[in-house]
């Protein structure tokens, strides 16, 4: 048994780190439990010639492929999309590509505007100052003034020139007259903060940034939270939350680095374990009061799981585009098809994330069996024509919440500590399918307008479950939601959730800036109301 903390934060990823920082800065005694470890910057693959092979092993994005001791399996037999994440200090922001568009005002009012799903119990304008504060703190590159979005504060750094890759996209976009804007990117182009270097465009941000240029949690909020007095315990895997006899959460039981079971007590507990880890933990926290899992009287824990379903569309060009160079995911965003248009045969919309292309091994492997470049005499010619001659468009659709898409506990597999693993059951809705089909056609049109001689696509990309949302959703009605507008569990007054689980709807954009803005908003509320809610 350890000393009681004011606040226990579970997970040192994007959300947990942000909330821990804000609370530690406000003088609260914060303990963070993280099942993973620090990644030693010298071990990032980009420091080695054979870096690309680590995509297949320890730096893979899929926990079911990595199978590291700190990972937990996710049973995906009932899902056409694999959920991706990383379990370490920094969480999945070790692997993210830092593309950070914001939600639009309409994303908080889906029911009102489009008659489906639900409205959020807050609006864009309430979140706006937290978006701005988060951007200013972590360091972002971009350009304010996009008339297709509400105005925002000046970005920390200006975007770099379009380069050959960007110019090729813009050629098509201008021909078609579509919206485009340089991506807002959570990365810095000049030194910023402590020990962080400016991005040198090495390319594969998705296996981690070795120089701290990507504004990930482990180089921003985590070290700063520790400087403000927070205690981070790594290799601490939480088994379950502990309930006291008043029905409040008293802390968490976790396995320490040596595998011993410990209990960390706290007056308030905050979950930032992501859209799969958080429901898994709640479902594993059963008690007489909550026989189906903590905070689950509504039976909504684990339900309404949302991905952003993705279709990758790739064009190959005669010209050399240098498209293996530069931060892979953050270049241009087109929001031409963002808002609902009934003519598309679907509600809501999608973004076209116009990204860079494959590295040498990836090019040869061609994204899966059947797409490998030919072996033998023609191999080099094929590689020459493909490598750095491609552009990749990520068609990212808004997914709507559906109760049957859910995270449950696996009855057949556990993690290394014997804790039941997560099982994901997910089917792609007709609406998401229609959005993707529309997006594939438009992305193909764009690549052709840009000059591609060949365009191929995946109808649904399996290894693209980057965004995990909706499994403990916010709402005003405790019978159909898990947390209130501040992320506070309806059922357990001193339990808060700050990760993507609390999303009501998903918008068609990458979620992390919204996750961090929400986490900071919850932290501010907690600072003000701590004594009212603490156990």
């Amino acid at each position: 048994m350890t000393d009681q903390a004011d606040v226990l934060v579970i997970g040192a990823g994007a959300s947990g780190a942000a909330v821990a920082w804000a609370l530690a800065r406000a003088g609260r005694k914060v303990v963070i439990l993280e099942q993973g470890d620090w990644i030693d910057p010298s071990t990032y693959p980009q420091h080695r010639s054979d870096w690309e092979r680590f995509r297949q092993t320890t730096f893979n994005r899929d926990p079911n492929v990595r199978k590291l001791p700190e990972d937990y399996p996710v049973d995906v037999t009932d899902s056409p999309i694999d959920p991706l994440m990383f379990n370490a200090v920094g969480g999945s922001t070790i692997h993210w590509t830092g593309h950070i568009p914001r939600f639009r005002p309409s994303d908080f009012r889906v029911k009102t505007l489009d008659g489906v799903a639900d409205d959020w119990p807050l609006d864009y304008w309430e979140l706006e100052p937290y978006y701005d504060a988060n951007d200013a703190y972590i360091g972002v590159t971009g350009l304010n003034g996009d008339p297709s979005n509400p105005p925002r504060t000046p970005r920390t750094f200006e975007p770099p020139a379009l380069g050959a890759t960007g110019e090729a996209y813009v050629r098509g976009l201008e021909k078609l007259g579509w919206h485009w804007w340089p991506s807002d990117a959570a990365l810095i182009t000049r030194p910023h903060g402590t020990g962080r270097l400016g991005c040198n465009g090495c390319g594969p941000c998705d296996i981690g940034c070795p120089i701290g240029a990507m504004s990930s949690a482990h180089v921003t909020y985590v070290p700063d939270a520790i400087r403000h007095g927070a205690t981070l315990i790594t290799r601490a895997r939480v088994r379950e939350l502990v309930l006291d006899d008043r029905g409040l959460v008293a802390g968490a039981a976790y396995y320490d680095r040596e595998g011993h079971l410990q209990v960390q007590r706290a007056r308030v507990t905050v979950l930032g374990a992501n859209g799969i880890g958080t429901p898994r933990l709640l479902l594993n926290s059963k008690s007489a009061r909550f026989p189906t899992g903590m905070a689950n009287s509504s039976d909504q824990v684990g339900r309404n799981f949302m991905f952003h379903p993705v279709a990758i569309v790739r064009g190959v060009f005669e010209e050399h585009l240098n498209s293996h160079q530069g931060p892979v995911g953050a270049l241009i965003n087109s929001q031409e098809f963002y808002e609902t248009d009934p003519a598309r045969g679907a509600l809501r919309g999608y973004q076209l994330q116009l990204v860079r292309d494959s590295q040498p091994v990836e090019t040869a492997l061609g994204r899966g069996p059947g797409r490998r470049l030919p072996w033998g005499k023609g191999h080099h010619e094929a590689h020459r024509k493909e490598f750095s001659h491609g552009l990749t468009i990520v068609v990212m659709a808004e997914d709507l919440p559906e109760a049957h898409n859910r995270v449950t506990l696996s009855t057949t597999s556990t993690d290394a500590h014997g804790i039941p693993a997560a099982k994901l059951s997910y089917t792609l809705s007709q609406n998401s399918r229609a959005l993707l089909d529309h997006g594939i056609a438009r992305a193909t049109e764009l690549l052709k307008a840009s000059g591609a001689h060949t365009v191929t696509h995946d109808r649904l990309t399996r290894v693209a479950g980057w965004h995990l949302m909706g499994t403990t959703r916010m709402g005003t009605d405790p019978s159909n939601s898990v947390v209130n507008r501040w992320g506070r569990a309806h059922d357990v007054g001193n339990l808060f959730i700050v990760d993507g689980s609390i999303f009501v709807t998903s918008a068609p954009v990458n979620p992390t800036t919204t996750i961090q803005a929400l986490a900071r908003r919850t932290a501010d509320w907690l600072v003000e109301h701590f004594e009212e809610v603490a156990g």
């Binding site: 350009l143 003034g145 808002e339 040869a364």
Partner: protein, 166 residues
């Protein structure tokens, strides 16, 4: 492996026997032959790389050793003189590889994936295709320093779809 030189001169591997390694080299030379400036696989560290992967990843052993075994068996069928795969002419070697590709597609694909991985992570190959080896600390720094020309956005600013007030 160090960051600067090719791995072709490294000692034999730990998982593969000398015979298996020489078979692998001969097979890889058909999969990735030399072409102009691009070296054939045997001149790179592709075979030793695969041996390293086999040492680190037990999941690769069944498919890759299985593929090599299937190639050996197919060679024996095609080559009653038992000269071995490495001594056959290129057309016969390719015929054997196509046969194994069809009969053991999963194993063959695994061998191909790891061969491509070993080949394109070899510094000599990276140098030929213009990729820094390793990527850091140099990266492609100059591309990040050129500044964006905001005039490119004039049309978008004038015609953008508005966001819906809500």
């Amino acid at each position: 492996m160090n960051a600067t030189g090719s791995r072709s001169d490294q000692p034999n591997g730990t998982v593969l026997s000398a015979d298996e390694l020489s078979l692998l080299r001969a097979v890889q030379d058909r999969l990735v032959p030399g072409d102009g400036q691009m070296p054939p696989a045997h001149a790179t560290g592709a075979a030793i790389a695969v041996d390293t992967y086999l040492a680190e990843r037990t999941d690769l052993r069944t498919p890759i050793l299985g593929a090599l075994r299937a190639i050996t068996i197919a060679t024996a069928v095609h080559d009653p003189a038992h000269a071995g795969f490495a001594h056959l002419d290129g057309a016969s070697q390719d015929a054997i590889l196509h046969e194994v590709e069809a009969s053991e597609p999963v194993w063959f694909d695994c061998l191909l994936v790891q061969t491509y991985t070993g080949y394109y992570t070899d510094p000599s190959v990276q140098a030929e295709i213009g990729v820094p080896s390793p990527l850091q600390p140099a990266g492609y720094a100059s591309m990040m320093q050129a500044t964006f020309d905001e005039r490119r956005l004039d049309r978008v600013r004038a015609t953008a779809r508005p966001w819906r007030e809500a």
